[in-house]
Symmetry: C2
């Protein structure tokens, strides 16, 4: 794997990941760009004892550009995007409209140079390059001063607010422990036993909510799923984060994950909007409590209906799920 | 205030609240309705140590009916809705598609018989009747076995998933402490001092985030607001819940709240989608820690843009706010 680090014209880092060792990554960003926005403003909410990021400059971020103006496509004469190369395999760069920065860092991961690809249909080798990029970024961002947790995720679909269609994910190096992680660690600490191992063992024993599995990973709908279609992927071996996955585990993950993503898309016969979120161990605390897993969920509850987070969820954190988890698992198994 | 309790044809309760004492509420529900759905299925999520309600029957709930078929409008010959009367002031009934039931209870509050009203434009006397209904329901539902917290709220706008346009709110008698309440109580318990009184005192002293105020209430954008437009209304006197508000406090609240709602609608010149949520003291625990307040927020971040909860918020609970709270307050003050 070849890894090439360059800089965009406003100083942001761009990193190419290439399977071939002989590619040249010398294309220069010739754009005249404004200086990056001011550092993050992080505010503490005393009522919930949580951090909130204020990022007013994001109001100006690129919003559903036409395909010809896609900033994630390779550049061509007369068309300069975020990636100056005429083609690429996987590219990662610092987000031009970050949610936070110094402390913290937000990156964009381009899964493919093909604007019309989706993660579900990437060639197997390409998925491995993406995993390599996630592992690389997790290790490097974890080493930055102030990083508390590295969060690799993908938002897919206009229905959930995606502003760029090109297949891409994001990586947040949170400068604080995100609220859900704080809660999950508290829960694991209070639990008598091995929380995540027990959850996985129960699902593998009961089988009724398992969507698909292989020797190294299991994909299941959690018994108390919050979303109409929600699937968690656990490795059978406890590891803290993506860099700790073996090559065999990376390959087994890719197979299972793409299988589940394709089931999502087949379910209603239309591309499923989804959020896919890696829960990795925090960098500095409680690494022994964590258990790497991926949370995949969609707000689509029927072919023509979305689930909205209204008063109960948004103001009280109390989720109401309109689809029984066992039924969701059955539908995903049978599709 | 006259309060009349009746039953719908499937056994659900319907309660009329009338300012006039001489109205007759004897109209009968002549519809043939299926039996109410099965009791709630509450599941505990061990990973986050939270309760989730599974309510599969809600997939069949009424979805954006035409105005002629509005189930919340008064009934007329040939058109039977949820309220059999030919007119009403404020009516409350058990939700036909509840998120949970036995334990717990979900009610619908019709703010007006006029399909095209909105809370912002209700006559002052009508708002007092709604507050009376909230107080009555809070007291009565708090006395039901198993109720842990009574939550009065309104979802307004198709943009946030509202399925009925008729002006109405909802009341949930939660059979468990909702996650946000658990968190808020933990935070208040850990805080050195009087958390809510300190928050209010700071906002009243700094003034920069105050949207509007009167002698008994202050409306401000929280310093660490999560939503582009979020306003909290605190009474100056600490009370646990709506029933504990004095008549003067109810009237002062109504004036201030309608003022803020009208500012919301003026902001972009179009009806603002919003969630309005009363945070009352829990029924059985920590009543001394709580401080009644109303949380009002909108996901609209610009005239043509909504904020979506994507990976950071939905999977990590980490909010990114694109509008500085001081700027949101200024825009709301000046509109």
């Amino acid at each position: 794997m070849k890894r090439t680090v360059t800089r965009l014209s406003d100083g942001r880092e761009l990193i190419y990941f290439d399977r071939r060792d002989d590619v040249s990554r010398e294309a220069l960003d010739t754009r005249v760009l404004p200086a990056p926005p001011a550092p993050a403003e992080l505010r503490h909410d005393p009522v919930l004892d949580e951090w909130v990021a204020i990022a007013a400059h994001r109001q100006q971020r690129t919003f559903l550009p036409s395909t010809e103006d896609c900033p994630l496509c390779p550049s061509a004469p007369g068309r300069a995007g975020e990636i100056p190369a005429a083609d690429y395999e996987v590219a990662v760069f610092e987000n031009r409209f970050p949610s936070f920065r110094d402390p913290g860092r937000c990156e964009v991961v381009c899964f493919s140079s093909d604007h019309d690809e989706s993660f579900a249909s990437l060639p197997a080798a390409q998925v491995q390059t993406v995993i390599e990029a996630w592992a690389d970024r997790t290790a490097e961002l974890s080493a930055l001063p102030g990083t508390e947790q590295v969060f690799c995720f993908e938002n897919r679909g206009e229905e959930i607010g995606v502003t760029l269609h090109h297949p891409h994910g994001q990586i947040y190096a949170f400068p604080y422990l995100p609220p859900r992680t704080v809660q999950l660690l508290g829960s694991a600490r209070r639990y008598r036993g091995d929380l995540f191992a027990d959850v996985l063992a129960r699902e593998r024993a009961e089988r009724i909510r398992v969507v698909a599995a292989n020797e190294l990973w299991t994909a299941f709908v959690p018994a108390a799923a919050r979303w109409p279609f929600e699937v968690h992927l656990y490795p059978h071996r406890r590891v803290a984060d993506i860099p700790a996955l073996s090559q065999a585990e990376r390959e087994a993950f890719a197979t299972l994950y793409q299988d589940v993503l394709r089931r999502f898309d087949r379910l209603f016969g239309i591309p499923m909007p989804y959020i896919s979120a890696w829960h990795q161990a925090p960098v500095h605390v409680d690494r022994d409590l964590a258990y790497l897993h991926l949370q995949l969920f969609s707000s689509r509850r029927a072919a023509d209906r979305l689930k909205y987070l209204a008063g109960s969820e948004s103001a009280m954190g109390a989720f109401i799920n309109d689809v029984r988890p066992e039924e969701a698992a059955r539908l995903l198994r049978e599709t």
